[in-house]
C-alpha cells in the first residue's frame, strides 16, 4: 500500500497556473476550426445527379429531399436539407452512386428561427 495523504495534486495545480489553459473562449470569436475529416453539412452538386433517390431512401431521419421541379427529361433538381433533422451520419454521401453529395466542415447552425434550419443546398 502506498503512502496516502491529502492534497496530492497541489504541485500539478500550481504548475498549471503557469501553463496555457486547455480551453479557449468560444463566444463571439468566430467559427470553430475543425478537422478536414469532420462530417459537417452536406453539399450537393446537381450536374451528375440522376435523381435515383437512394440518398433519400437511406436517410435515417428524412432530412434530405431531392426535388425535381422540371419534367423527367428536362430535370431541374434541387436538394433541400432540414439541418434540424440531419444527424450528420453522411449515409447519403456513401449511398450516392454518382458522388453528387459530399460533406463540408460547416458545423455551426445555431439560430433562433426554426425556419432557418431548412436550407437549399
Amino acid at each position: 500500500m502506498k503512502k496516502t495523504g491529502p492534497g496530492r495534486i497541489t504541485f500539478r495545480a500550481i504548475k498549471n497556473l503557469f501553463k496555457k489553459p486547455a480551453t479557449t473562449s468560444y463566444a463571439g470569436k468566430g467559427k470553430p476550426c475543425v478537422e478536414k475529416k469532420y462530417r459537417g453539412r452536406i453539399c450537393y452538386d446537381k450536374t451528375d445527379c440522376i435523381n435515383c433517390g437512394l440518398c433519400m431512401r437511406d436517410c435515417p431521419t428524412g432530412a434530405l429531399k431531392i426535388i425535381n421541379e422540371g419534367t423527367k427529361e428536362d430535370k431541374k433538381l434541387k436538394a433541400v436539407l432540414n439541418v434540424g433533422h440531419c444527424i450528420f451520419c453522411c449515409q447519403c454521401v456513401d449511398s450516392c452512386m454518382k458522388k453528387c453529395l459530399t460533406y463540408s466542415q460547416d458545423i455551426d447552425f445555431a439560430t433562433t428561427n426554426k425556419a432557418d434550419l431548412t436550407v437549399e443546398l
Binding site: 502506498k2 496516502t4 492534497g7 496530492r8 495545480a13 486547455a22 431512401r57 435515417p60 444527424i87 451520419c89
Partner: protein, 408 residues
C-alpha cells in the same frame, strides 16, 4: 414540506428528475433518517424515445444510425452489435481489416467513456479539479475519434458489412501518439486514486455490492468485475478481432465504488495495450463486403462488451429489408437492479457517487418520443411561474403563447 417530512423524523428527499448530480433525468426517492439512507425508490423511464418501435418501420441501414444513437457514449458498441447481428443473419463475413478497425474504435471509445466517468465521479464527490483534468485529457481521445470517424461521439464508422473509413499512416501515428500521452495521464490518475486521502475516504466501502449480490442482481461490466466476477464478453465470447487479440480481464475484490474506479482506470491501460496491438498487427485488405438489402429471415442474439458492460442485441428479421423486432439490452439496464441495494445503509453524501458508480446511462436504459408529463411536476406554483415567464417575455416583445405547452 409536510408530505416530505413525516412524524418519525424521516425525510423523503427527491433526487431528480432534474438534479445537479444527474446527467440525465431519473428519479430517486431517498428516504433519510438524519443523514442515513433507509430506503430508496429508483424511477427511470424519463428518456423513453421508442427507438425500438422506430426501428421496425425503417430499413436496416437507417436503423444502424438510429441504433447508434441509443447512447451518446457507447454508440459504437451498439452499432457494432447491430451490424454483427445483421451480418450474421445475412451470412456474410466481415473483412479482417474492418474487424480490426472496429476494435480500435471500440477501445478508443472505452477510453473516452471511462475518462468521462472518472470526471463525473470526481465531480460527484466535489473534486472538481480532477474532473477538469480528466475531461481535458478526454478531449484528446475525442479529437482522434473525430479524425477517424468524422464525429466526436456518434462516429458512424460502422456500416453493415464492414467499416466506412480506412486508417492510414497519419491516423495510425496520431492514435499512437495520443495513446502514449494518455498512458502517462492514466498512470497519474491511478496514483492519485491510490494515494489521495480525501478521494479514498469518499470511495472506500461506499455502494457495496457483494459478489453474491452482484450475481443475484445480474450486474455486468465494471460493477461486476469490481465484485470479483470475471465476466468480460471480449474474453468469454470473443467476437470480431478479439478472437486474435489478447485481452486481460481486470477484476477487483473491493466490491465498492473504489473497486469500480480502480477497475476502470486499469481497463483504460488494457485498452491502450489493445489499441497498440491492433495498430501494429492490422491486416491489409478491403473494408466492406456486400450485404444484400433484404436480410433472410431468422433471429439472432449478439453480445458485445460496451464500456459499461455487456450489451445484448436481439434481432429478428422476416426476409424483408425492414427488421421485425429489435431489442437492445443496454448494460446500464442490468445494473439498475442492484441500485436500491447499493444505496441502502449509506449516507446521503454517498448517494450521488453510488448512482454515478454504475456509470448510468438513462437513455441507454430507456432507449427511448419524450412525452412531456408536466402532470407529475411538484413545483409549488408552476402555472404562476409560467404565466410570469410568458408575461415577462411579452414585455420584451417575444410571444411565447404560440408555443404549445400543455397547461397543467
Amino acid at each position: 414540506m409536510s408530505e416530505n417530512i413525516s412524524n418519525n423524523n424521516k425525510i423523503v428527499l427527491p433526487i431528480g428528475p432534474q438534479h445537479p448530480s444527474l446527467d440525465e433525468p431519473g428519479r430517486f426517492d431517498i428516504t433519510l433518517e438524519g443523514e442515513k439512507v433507509v430506503n430508496a425508490v429508483v424511477g427511470v423511464g424519463y428518456n423513453h424515445r421508442g427507438l425500438e418501435k422506430v426501428c421496425e418501420s425503417k430499413n436496416y441501414i437507417q436503423d444502424l444510425y438510429i441504433i447508434e444513437r441509443v447512447c451518446g457514449i457507447c454508440s459504437h458498441s451498439h452499432s457494432t452489435a447491430f451490424c454483427m447481428a445483421v451480418e450474421e443473419l445475412a451470412g456474410v463475413t466481415v473483412p479482417q481489416r474492418a474487424e480490426y478497425i472496429r476494435v480500435v474504435v471500440a477501445e478508443l471509445e472505452r477510453l473516452h467513456s471511462h475518462l468521462l466517468w472518472l470526471g463525473v465521479a470526481c465531480h460527484e464527490i466535489g473534486f472538481d479539479t480532477m474532473f477538469m483534468y480528466t475531461w481535458r485529457d478526454r478531449e484528446k481521445v475525442l479529437d482522434v475519434l473525430a479524425t477517424v470517424g468524422g464525429n466526436r461521439v456518434n462516429y458512424g464508422i460502422n456500416t453493415i458489412g464492414g467499416v466506412r473509413r480506412d486508417f492510414n499512416e497519419t491516423i495510425n501515428s496520431e492514435i499512437l501518439k495520443t495513446v502514449d500521452s494518455l498512458e502517462e495521464d492514466i498512470k497519474r490518475y491511478l496514483e492519485i486514486a491510490m494515494t489521495e486521502t480525501t478521494l479514498i475516504s469518499r470511495l472506500k466501502s461506499k455502494g457495496k455490492l457483494s459478489h453474491e449480490d452482484a450475481l443475484k442482481y445480474g450486474a455486468v461490466g465494471p460493477v461486476a468485475r469490481a465484485a470479483g466476477i470475471a465476466i468480460d464478453i471480449r474474453v468469454t465470447e470473443p467476437y470480431g478481432a478479439y478472437k486474435e487479440i489478447p485481452v486481460n480481464v481486470i477484476t477487483d475484490t473491493n466490491e465498492d465504488v473504489y473497486g469500480r474506479t480502480a477497475v476502470r482506470i486499469l481497463e483504460m491501460q488494457e485498452s491502450i495495450n489493445i489499441i497498440r496491438y491492433c495498430i501494429n498487427n492490422m491486416p491489409e485488405g478491403t473494408l466492406t463486403v456486400k450485404v444484400p438489402r433484404r436480410i433472410p429471415a431468422g433471429e439472432v442474439i449478439v453480445r458485445v462488451e460496451a464500456p459499461r458492460g455487456e450489451d445484448i442485441h436481439y434481432l429478428r428479421s422476416n426476409g424483408t429489408d425492414i427488421p421485425d423486432r429489435v431489442r437492445v439490452r443496454a448494460p446500464t439496464e442490468a445494473n439498475w437492479h442492484g441500485m436500491k441495494h447499493m444505496l441502502k445503509g449509506g449516507n446521503l453524501a454517498d448517494v450521488p457517487i453510488t448512482i454515478a458508480a454504475i456509470d448510468p446511462c438513462y437513455s441507454c436504459t430507456d432507449r427511448a418520443i419524450v412525452i412531456s408529463s408536466e402532470k407529475n411536476t411538484e413545483v409549488m406554483d408552476w402555472r404562476g411561474l409560467r404565466r410570469y415567464g410568458i408575461d415577462w417575455y411579452k414585455k420584451q416583445n417575444i410571444d411565447l403563447t404560440s408555443l404549445k405547452i400543455k397547461e397543467v
